[in-house]
Assembly symmetry: C2
Homo-oligomer: 359 residues x 2
């Protein structure tokens, strides 16, 4: 049914060995004319290597496992895309599995991936990290992207939350704000800790004393942003701006402030974090710092591939920096706005609208 090496071998008269050497891109020497001929025949016959056979023989699948908490979580798709784009360049594919934040599912998924003989595994967002014996024994490289909990861990790629918070604060301070309310994430997320440290340190660098009453607790959800903003307004000395440490809370905060009769940004500025899609279509458009999901994924794939090719070698936590997107909610001059790039899907639609008539 499907064309095999042997078919090509018969068709060309060369042995399967030679054919293999040509078709598997081996750098074993083969006469140029021979190579040429084999390539031609393979092309016309429509040869497609049987990857199962190849992997059985070589114990390398050119496939990596990607273990995500949930493909539907907001930052997972861009992380995955970053991984895929890099892998594809090197002829690797990926098998994606969800763990649903369950150690048991995670364990089963790892077993499954190992059964598939993946060449390495990338853990996205969640990882129970109870050292998986089989995984350790397999000596397959594996690393962590955007791991949400716990402290720094080897072989992990995380966002540089400290730096991001610094960017947001620096921007607000440049805008003249001295008293900036802060709405935090849950304490056990290292992202929360990083952003808070950035907030405090940037204040210090600008010679502004940190005032703990300005720090409101939050849990990343809308209501926490709303409530936090309201509490900030009850302070004896009100802040003139609010740094909500994710976009969802920033949205809640804006509504909270508006409900209290304040205009954003005219009366009080707001900055979010993450650069979620909705920050661009909401009004006022939300100034925010990007969570560099795509870049983290790409970096992860890059490091994994290095380890797959050159052998395992631990690296220290890598931090990827995001950038500040100046929009409206902070109150900055229009001239300071960051130019926006349309989403890929939008670009595609535009092209299509102009080109493709009714099918």
């Amino acid at each position: 049914m499907s064309i095999t090496l042997e078919d090509i071998s018969k068709a060309t008269g060369f042995s399967p060995a030679t054919v293999s050497r040509v078709l598997s891109n081996s750098r074993y020497p083969v006469n140029a004319a021979t190579r040429q001929r084999i390539l031609e025949v393979a092309q016309t016959l429509g040869y497609r290597p049987n990857l199962s056979a190849r992997s059985l023989r070589t114990d390398r699948t050119h496939t990596v496992g990607v273990l995500v908490d949930d493909i539907m979580s907001p930052f997972v798709p861009p992380i995955v895309r970053g991984i895929q784009d890099h892998l594809m360049q090197y002829g690797f594919s990926c098998l994606i599995v969800n763990s649903d934040w369950s150690p048991d599912f995670e364990y089963a998924a790892i077993e499954n991936l190992l059964s598939h003989s993946v060449d390495g595994i990338i853990f996205v967002e969640y990882s129970h990290l109870a050292v998986h014996e089989a995984l350790e024994q397999s000596q397959k490289p594996h690393l962590f992207v955007h791991r949400l909990f716990g402290g720094a861990v080897k072989n992990s790629i995380v966002p540089d939350d400290y730096h991001g918070a610094t960017l947001a604060m620096r921007h607000l301070i440049d805008l003249g704000h001295r008293r900036v309310g802060y709405i935090s994430g849950p304490e056990n997320w290292h992202t929360s800790r990083g952003r808070l440290a950035g907030y405090r340190d940037e204040l210090a660098r600008q010679g502004i004393t940190f005032d703990p009453v300005l720090v409101q607790p939050g849990d990343w959800e809308f209501d926490a942003g709303y409530a936090g903003a309201r509490r900030l307004l009850e302070l004896a000395e009100r802040p003139t701006a609010v740094f909500a440490t994710n976009d969802v809370m920033a949205l809640g905060a804006i509504y909270g402030l508006q409900d209290a009769g304040l205009a954003v940004p005219a009366d009080i500025g707001v900055v979010g974090y993450d650069n979620r899609d909705f920050t661009k279509i909401f009004r006022p458009q939300i100034t925010t710092v990007s969570l560099p999901a795509y870049e983290m994924g790409r970096t992860a794939a890059e490091r994994l591939l290095t380890q797959i090719t050159h052998g395992k070698s631990d690296f220290e936590e890598i931090k990827i920096t995001g950038q500040l997107y100046v929009r409206e909610s902070c109150g900055a001059d229009a001239a300071l706005r960051t130019p926006e790039e349309p989403l890929a899907a939008t670009v595609f639609r535009r092209v299509l609208l102009n080109k493709q008539p009714e099918e």
Copy 2:
């Protein structure tokens, strides 16, 4: 290094064949005690089948290819999740590849998937559908989910846009609206045609004459919603509600109406379509009809698996219905609101906040 059937064979004294029969869940008869013993040993030794070897032998990989336009497109992750959840139940994994709306990339991806000997392929959203010869020859089942362009096609699973539009219109009419503005999608998307037909037919069913001036063109983007709403307000006879056929345009429409000095929903109601995440956090919360992405994915996987197991057999286009989510923007009574369910990630966070202390 890794445990093989032969290891188990030696450890138990049974032949590899018997061991295989037990460990591959063959329904070939094996003595209960033998089975028991083999299972035990396999367990303690940590046997994990080598899927490459198995697939080389059986020509079945228990893997399906999922060819998406872009994993980052809004509806793709839930579709993929639906596919994965169903596949997982039957021990199937999936290989996900992006086509970026390019026929060439799509072609290459199919070749790649066939090389991986996937048992079937699901095309998500985009498909050039220039009948891929190798794919046809392979006789592997393949089908289409949420195909965006062109007319009805066999073996495809699409949203029931007609029905969804009907739900939205019925709701608005029940609320007393007789004159409902309509903001359309691009004409060459069948989703646009389905929604428009639902709009017209539901009007007819309720004895309301269709007025073409109420139909404004759109391209799914924010600006089209905004402009469409403004144009509707310039009509001699203004509508009392607007049905924007996706949530992004609904958002644009709401801002357009607000900029014209109208309150939503007090002065004019708005209904969107798709049930995007932001409709729940925006104010007013947007009433919308869900695009049943997850269910479409699940159905696709189900049909594909049927074909993989029982042989290819074409089916006519399957339409999956979404449901109406009554929120605030339509102006319905609070009593009529659809109860909301939190996102999986949110639930997880809540659990974690209560349980997991500092690591």
